[in-house]
């Protein structure tokens, strides 16, 4: 089966400052990949490279078997960025309007069809926020907002869900429920790439771990990560030999 994403010897720098150095990893269909590393380790940069938001200085990136630069099936990716909730604070947008955005890549310049509206309703129901659909998104709690963004990805019928620290500022109970939702979506076959600062949560939920600190210190299933020294290496020191399991 074609990998959902494949990165080969990817390097990226902000000016003279290397952010990601010589990273090679593949994400298989249906994986739940936890991307971890200390602050400033290049996790978000790597995710942006993978999604095509940044171009690598060198190396090759493919999404669903296509070079990322020419990948045009945007509806297959659902992305929840770190700053996704910033605009929600001041901009009057309802939850339904946000979830509808997931259909825009399908609809192009045409009006949303009945099928689009049905997909929006189904996505709202799946994440259990039907009763919040007409509420202004800024009036929702952090956990509810994240569900709305997940619903946007589901409405898009995304095969890959990329989340960058989605539960910052979310209370523990809502966070737990949110990760159960992610697990259930993963069981449906949706590939998930998650950046999360809480390593305990990632090792509990993800079936694969990529541990990064500019270099990739570990990539493999969660068990092999737990048994390895990658965590101490990545968080405790820099410039160590890369450990890479496939």
């Amino acid at each position: 089966m074609t990998d959902v994403a494949h990165l080969e010897n990817v390097t990226f720098s902000y000016g003279e400052q290397p952010a990601v150095t010589d990273v090679t990893l593949s994400i298989g269909a249906g994986e739940f990949l936890g991307l971890i590393g200390p602050n400033g380790s290049g996790k978000t940069t790597l995710l942006h490279l993978l999604l095509g938001l940044l171009e690598p200085d060198s190396g090759r990136i493919e999404l669903f078997g296509q070079p990322v630069s020419s990948f045009d099936q945007g509806e297959r990716i659902g992305y929840v960025s770190q700053g996704a909730t910033d605009r929600a604070e001041t901009m009057p947008v309802t939850v339904r309007e946000v979830v509808r955005m997931g259909r825009f890549a399908h609809a192009g310049h045409s009006r949303l069809s009945e099928e689009d509206r049905t997909a929006v309703d189904a996505a709202l129901a799946t994440v259990d926020i039907v009763n919040l659909a007409e509420r202004r998104i800024g009036s929702l709690s952090g956990g509810q907002r994240q569900r709305a963004y997940i619903a946007r990805a589901l409405a898009s019928e995304a095969d890959l869900l990329a989340l960058d620290e989605p539960t910052v500022g979310v209370d523990a109970e809502s966070r737990d429920a949110f990760y159960k939702l992610l697990a259930s979506l993963n069981e449906r076959g949706i590939t998930i790439v998650l950046i999360e600062h809480d390593i305990g949560v990632v090792t509990d939920r993800a079936d694969h771990i990529a541990c990064l600190n500019t270099h990739l210190y570990h990539h493999g299933d969660t068990e092999s990560f737990v048994e390895s020294d990658a965590l101490a290496d990545a968080y405790g020191a820099s410039g160590r030999i890369v450990q890479h399991h496939h």
Binding site: Y79, M101, A122, L124, T126, D128, R147, S174
Partner: protein, 392 residues
């Protein structure tokens, strides 16, 4: 104008309940262990201010707003009718139509005790202002929520440089094209330059905006200074606007610009909304963000040139920002923001003209003052408990 647009009519589903069949058929919806957990209203969610339009928003745009929008469309069509009829008045039937407008103006003058509406130039002026009151908030709603509010001010100053270039070319060559056309060309060029700068520096940062704003105004003043004595045209009208300043050509240009902007926004509403709300996610969805951004700044330049006739360079940005800021205080959805922005835009324009005519004041300042009164009213009406839109 009368064509239903995406943002006016795309609300059929807002009051629909989810199709239970589809939701039920979704195995995850049934088996999801979290169902019913996180969506209970937890105690830690922020309290929503229930504004006066909240109930209406549950079913889309309220009836009052719909009536207001319909009245705005009718007013725009009637006034556009005059602009076209007066332009083509040498043709028999259209000449009669234009005359009827003037008769109607005479009646209005008698009723109101004024001496303004009998003059065709006033019809042109009102027509231009009403169209500005539609298209400025239409574009401004995206600018304000992208925190690009000052881009309108920048492009107005760029357009002023265009006027200056047009004046100089007119005085020193045989080139006889309109100054507004010159402003439009230079304004669009300035819009693309702003876009280019924004892509290469901090996105729409203060610095790029400040450089473009002062730079283009500096060029304008230098060109005017250089051409002084060569032309008798007074640039004061371009700076401050004037009731009697709108020419037939200016009004016709405004009609064309309005059609361009209304079609532009209606056909790209979804994309502009997505980019405004979450630009990164829109990029990941493979929307042509650069193209839509360029379209938005070009439409802004177009609106600015049209609005400059009535408001003047200095005040033109106010019409892009103030009605939207007022609407944001009250609206629950983005569509409602758009709808209320246009209504506040009309209130500012018509109220501003009433103030200007009755007190013999400049229209630009009057429109902006009435607009700000609307904004303060909206703040008071909303109870001001919600965090207001941040205007940068």
């Amino acid at each position: 104008m009368s064509e239903p647009t995406e943002f006016e009519t795309d609300d059929a589903s807002t009051d629909e309940q989810p199709k239970s069949g589809r939701a039920d058929s979704d195995p995850t919806a049934d088996s999801d262990p979290t169902s019913g957990r996180d969506t209970h209203t937890t105690g830690n969610e922020p309290t929503t201010r229930r504004g006066p339009t909240t109930e209406a928003s549950a079913t889309g745009i309220s009836l009052i707003q719909r009536i207001g929008l319909a009245a705005t469309v009718v007013l725009a069509i009637v006034l556009t009718g005059f602009v076209v009829a007066y332009w083509l008045r040498s043709y028999p039937l259209l000449g009669d139509v234009a005359t009827q407008y003037v008769y109607a103006g005479q009646h209005m003058d008698r009723l109101l005790g004024t001496n303004v509406f009998r003059h065709p130039v006033m019809w042109q002026s009102v027509a231009t202002a009403v169209l500005v009151g539609i298209v400025a908030p239409l574009v401004g709603v995206f600018l304000v929520h992208r925190e690009m509010a000052l881009i309108g001010e920048t492009l107005a100053h760029t357009a002023f440089a265009g006027v200056a270039v047009g004046l100089l070319l007119g005085a020193t060559t045989d080139w006889q094209a309109s100054l507004l056309l010159s402003a439009l060309v230079v304004g669009i060029g300035g819009a693309l330059a702003v876009q280019w700068l924004a892509e290469r520096t901090d996105a729409y940062g203060d610095v790029a905006i400040a450089i473009m704003l002062t730079g283009s105004f500096a060029v304008g003043t230098l060109v005017i200074s250089y051409g002084r004595g060569l032309t008798a045209v007074n640039v004061e009208e371009y700076l401050f606007g004037n009731l009697a300043f709108v020419t037939g050509e200016g009004a016709r240009l405004m009609v064309v610009l309005t059609i361009f902007v209304v079609i532009g926004v209606a056909s790209t509403y979804k994309q502009l909304l997505f980019i405004t709300f979450d630009e990164q996610a829109a990029r990941v969805a493979r929307l042509n963000v650069r193209g839509y951004n360029a379209l938005l700044v070009v439409m802004t330049a177009v609106v600015v040139v049209g609005a400059m006739q009535v408001l003047g360079v200095i005040l033109v940005a106010g019409m892009l920002v103030i009605p939207v800021a007022a609407a944001t205080q009250l609206a629950e959805s983005f569509r409602e923001t758009l709808s209320l922005s246009i209504l506040f835009g009309q209130a500012a324009v018509l109220g501003g003209y009433a103030l200007a005519i009755s007190q013999s004041l400049p229209p630009g300042g009057s429109i902006i003052v009435v607009g700000i009164a609307c904004y303060l009213f909206a703040i008071g009406w909303s109870g001001s408990s919600r965090r207001g839109v941040q205007i940068h």
